[in-house]
């Protein structure tokens, strides 16, 4: 990165110098012309002062989200709901600070009129969102929004969507993603869902059901009845499918479940398996760890043909494999060096490289969908921490630490991690989110105790 910095800087300098040269030449011509006309020579214009700003003031961006207008009287409720969901999403991301609507000076009465920017500057809004929800003659909802840059006094984005009335929450998430992307330059993650293990009942007779909800905790649905013990659901990065493990009477079984259709199939019975398989980025294969005596090794299985390929063959426990987003590499946990540590190897096996070297043991590595980090659980000194490191092992940092934190999963844009935390005692686990800088830790609302979250890809 240092090299690239060195390369980049001269390039910029050159560009600005040519700019100056161009100006100088133009001015030289002007001066020459003046001289020919027999006029007094004007002084050469001073070269532009150049100021380098290498620091900033990173803070949640103040954004005003005006109540969406209802096209008809009956629409105003869902219209307001949309703007409230947008505000909640943006606030939870930690990158935005929605302004209290009570402070607004201008009441938006039309989406098509240009807002009075000075009024919004007065309340220090950097951006403004206006919108409207209208019911169409065919019964569908039309939702439209405009995103305004208050300082520049210009529209940054404006879109409209059509959907069925039940889907109004999703529309709000999609608009949130559009705003997020425009202002942060990255894809959002609001139009996504989370699969988790819902836990009810007393600790000794805990009922564990597979459940799915929107990323903001709304629309909880149960996917299993609770007659089996379910563990470690994994979302496919490309399809609306999950794998999970279920302990019935005998060996643990791995299931493949299509969330849209509810169709479920058994991938296989795998004795001694402790984590469900993870998908390859294309969703066509799953990678898993299978027990062989006292050892475990990593295998990849084609979901169509069910053909199994061995990737490691070591007298150690190799487990918890996870693909890089480009599908060329795998990270996994292995105790081949004594204690469990994280290793990276090619997707077709071969030489593995250890990337974690800290105290304690590392487990459950998971590769970010952006490819820039690997999240892990680290157990050291009687505490469990959630952390991230770069795929080469550098830049390791702990995001949160406590009695028991486990099972990190990345949001589709790789900026936020969800994990579960068990406070111990009679209380059960619950889900939390934290951004990859270790800021903005928030509890995820769930109906009961919850563990083993798995974040879906973006729905749209």
């Amino acid at each position: 990165m240092g090299d690239r910095n060195d390369l980049e800087f001269p390039k910029l300098r050159v560009r600005s110098l040519t700019q100056l040269a161009r100006v100088s030449r133009r001015d030289a011509l002007a001066v020459g012309g003046a001289a020919l006309a027999g006029l007094a020579i004007a002084p050469w214009p001073a070269a532009a002062v150049t100021v380098d700003i290498t620091q900033g003031n990173v803070q949640p961006m103040p954004i005003a989200i005006a109540d969406f207008l209802g096209g008809a009287a009956g629409d105003s409720e869902s219209a307001q709901g949309v703007s409230q969901i947008i505000a909640a999403n943006l606030r939870r991301s930690g990158l935005f600070a929605p302004i209290d609507p009570a402070a607004f000076l201008e009441k938006i009465v039309s989406v098509d009129a240009v807002p009075r920017f000075p009024d919004w500057r007065t309340i220090n809004a950097q951006a403004l969102v206006t919108g409207r929800v209208t019911r169409q003659p065919d019964g569908r909802l039309k939702a439209e929004f405009r995103l305004w840059d208050v300082q520049a006094g210009a529209q940054l984005d404006g879109k409209q969507y059509f959907t069925t009335p039940e889907n109004w929450r999703r529309i709000a998430h999609i608009i949130s993603d559009a705003i997020y992307e425009k202002l942060t330059g990255e894809k959002g993650y609001f139009d996504s869902r989370v699969v988790f293990v819902d836990e009810t009942g007393p600790a000794e007779r805990r009922i564990k059901r597979l459940a799915i909800m929107d990323q903001d905790g709304a629309n909880v649905r149960y996917l299993t009845r609770g007659d089996e013990l379910v563990l470690t659901p994994r979302f496919s990065p490309s399809t609306q499918e999950i794998t999970y493990m279920a302990y019935g009477a005998g060996d643990p079984r791995v299931y493949l479940l299509n969330i849209e259709t509810g169709q479920r199939e058994i991938v296989g019975n795998f004795p001694g398996m402790s984590f469900a398989p993870r998908f390859s980025p294309d969703g066509q294969r799953v990678v898993m760890s299978l027990q062989e005596g006292s050892n475990a090794n990593i295998f990849v299985m084609d979901l169509r043909s069910k053909a199994m390929t061995r990737l490691t063959d070591t007298p150690a426990i190799d487990t918890a494999p996870s693909y890089s987003p480009d599908g060329t590499r795998l990270c996994f946990e292995s105790d081949r060096g004594g204690r469990p540590q994280i290793y990276v190897m090619g997707a077709s096996g071969g030489q593995a490289q250890r990337i974690s070297f800290g105290d304690g043991s590392y487990s459950t590595p998971v590769w970010s969908p952006r490819g820039d980090y690997i999240a892990f659980t680290r157990q050291a000194g009687g505490k469990f921490a959630i952390g991230v490191m770069k795929p080469d092992g550098s830049g390791e940092r702990v995001l949160t630490e406590g009695f028991h934190n486990e099972g990190p999963t990345f949001a589709p844009n790789g900026r936020v991690i969800m994990f579960f935390r068990d406070p111990g005692g009679s209380a059960g686990p619950s889900l939390y989110t934290i951004d990859i800088a270790g800021r903005n830790e928030l509890r995820e609302p769930t109906p009961a105790f919850a563990s083993d979250p798995a974040w879906s890809p973006l729905l749209s």
Partner: protein, 325 residues
Amino acid sequence: MRRNWIISASGHAAVLVFGLITFASSTPNVNLSDFMPVEIATPDNISNATTGVKNAPKAIENPKPLADKIGEPKPAKELAPKVVDKPEIRTDAAAAAEPKPEPKAPPKPAEKSEPKPEPKADAKPAEKAEKQKDKTKPDQIADELKKDDTKKPPKPEKKTPEFKPDQIAEQLRKDDNKRPPSKFDANQVAALLDHREPQRQLAAAETVNGVAALGAPTGHAAHLSQSELDALRAKLISLWNPPPAVSTHPDLYIVAIRIRLGRDHRLIGQPEVLTSGDGPLFEATRDSAIRAVISAQPYDMLSLTTYDVWKEIDINFDPKDVFGG
């Protein structure tokens, strides 16, 4: 006993000498990396660092012309763009006897420029031509030279409306001795002017006199003072909120913006983005920089006395240190 004394004394002496040498030469035990070379300069030092000095009392009293090298005094007169010297030229030209008096011209062209006034009889047009030449400052001459050498000669003729080319030709035919050279030969004029160019950079006089008076033609403009720059930077830093995603590759998202400011310390027109890039992250970074320069208005940390310096500012927004390096 005595030997013991000697041994003891020499031993002590050795220790003292050793200590003297060692401790004197060794540097104090401090962490050098904590040092930072500091030069104390008041804002005035910087903003007053101009080549031309406004209060230059000596120069007014100093009779010597400003000169960088010893040489003929003539070019020094040229540096003074006033017409004071010209009456002398006129009279000399009318007399047509003395070759020297033309102070402007170096020896070579002096002969050719001498006859110039003669054909024009009353010497007025000549004066005109001279005036125009004198008015033109050295830079202008250089500029004109570069553009076209041949354009110059016909000019003085055109500016004497009394004499049409034909008339001059007639007069020239009458006086055979002097007239041929009085025609402006392009090469000769070029030679004349070429000689002036170096004089522009190094003025020659009998003595070297480096005292500047009331600002030299080559004087620099004032700088922004350090406190103005610091205040400008601080304001922009406090207002720049780049998107966090640039932290992965900050070097790819450097945005250079040019702003133009009016005397009211506010932006003139829209900020101009000098760097190009694409993708939503570049656009978001660019927009964050534009928001910063817009909301930094008014730029009242900049003093009006240096307006010419800050009427146009290039700002490089480089996120390299925003997220802790």
